[in-house]
Amino acid sequence: MANMKQENVARVIDFLEQNKNRDGEVSLTDVMHLAEVMSGSMHDFLTAVQPAVTEELTLIGKEISRMKDEISQLRANDMTGNKIPDAGRELDAIVEATEDATNTIMEAAEEIMGADTSDAEAYQELVSNKMISIFEACTFQDITGQRISKVVTTLNYIDERVSSFIEHLRIPEELDAAIEESEEDRRKRELILHGPQHTGEGVSQDDIDALLTDVQADIDKLFD
């Protein structure tokens, strides 16, 4: 309002002076007239600020457009609707295939272990047949290998898009929201559940044997 010129302020004051004794009888024409006077008085101010506001709005519009583009590049619907469920189905199939193969191999081994060895010829035939069953069951490795490759491809696809999204949106690591410990996480922490370790990450059986001896020695010291 600081930019409003004196002549415009005077016009508003004149209008209000002329109409101060109307006792609430105000017509639509009066309202329109006041609006015209007011908008005229604001003209200079709006003319001054308009370029800056327009520039800001244009920048915001461009940023929103860029974010929309980045979000569309994520292909989130494809991920949640197709890629991730497909990967889940592949993993389920892997579990099923390995379980079937394990059962087939174990059944064959159990039959060989429990077979009657008194008839050498019959025993040899049984062993040969069961060995073939074991070889056949081992073909699961080829199929599960291919299924795992598909899951890895999906994980790489998600990784590429999410990484690109983070990079384009310039999201720094320190802005990552803090993760609240879930009930499952709490259980894992309290019950020391880490799951299987990768080669070289956990301790070996030899390390464990040595550790048990050391721990026992430390415990024994407490009672000395």
């Binding site: 159990e110 272990m113 019950l191 559940l193 880490h194 059986q205």
Partner: protein, 127 residues
């Protein structure tokens, strides 16, 4: 405590295939009386019904883990002396130390072989 192949052995694992593997290995080692449970809760119930000569338990199970089962067994005066071997994929040092402090008799990391199982069982009964 002498190793008695006639004693009942309780195998605790939530993975049926692993129970089957351990059961077969124990049979190969000469054990005949082998029972199983799918988690710590079921194992504890069975242990209260029957006196087992040895418990071989996995760690990671729902709802009661092998670690919780071990602590329950050691805190129960009627069960506390039962030999307990942990057979698990949990191979972090803190797991081994926690199990030892809770009173485990031996600890086998998966995957394992028959020789390791045999050696650890013999070690428990030679102590």
């Amino acid at each position: 405590m002498a190793l008695d192949l006639q004693m009942p052995v309780l195998v605790v694992d939530d993975y049926k295939t692993m129970i089957r593997i351990i059961r077969n290995l124990l049979k190969q080692l000469g054990f005949e009386d082998i029972d199983d449970a799918a988690d710590g809760t079921e194992a504890l119930e069975k242990m209260k019904q029957r006196r087992y000569g040895l418990v071989i338990s996995d760690w990671n199970m729902e709802p009661m883990t092998g670690y919780e089962l071990l602590k329950q067994v050691r805190s129960d005066s009627g069960l506390s002396k039962t030999p307990f071997i942990m057979v698990t994929a949990e191979s972090k040092t803190e797991n081994v130390i926690a199990a030892k402090k809770a009173g485990v008799n031996n600890y086998i990391v998966k995957p394992f072989n028959a020789q390791t199982l045999k050696g650890k069982i013999e070690a428990v009964f030679s102590d």
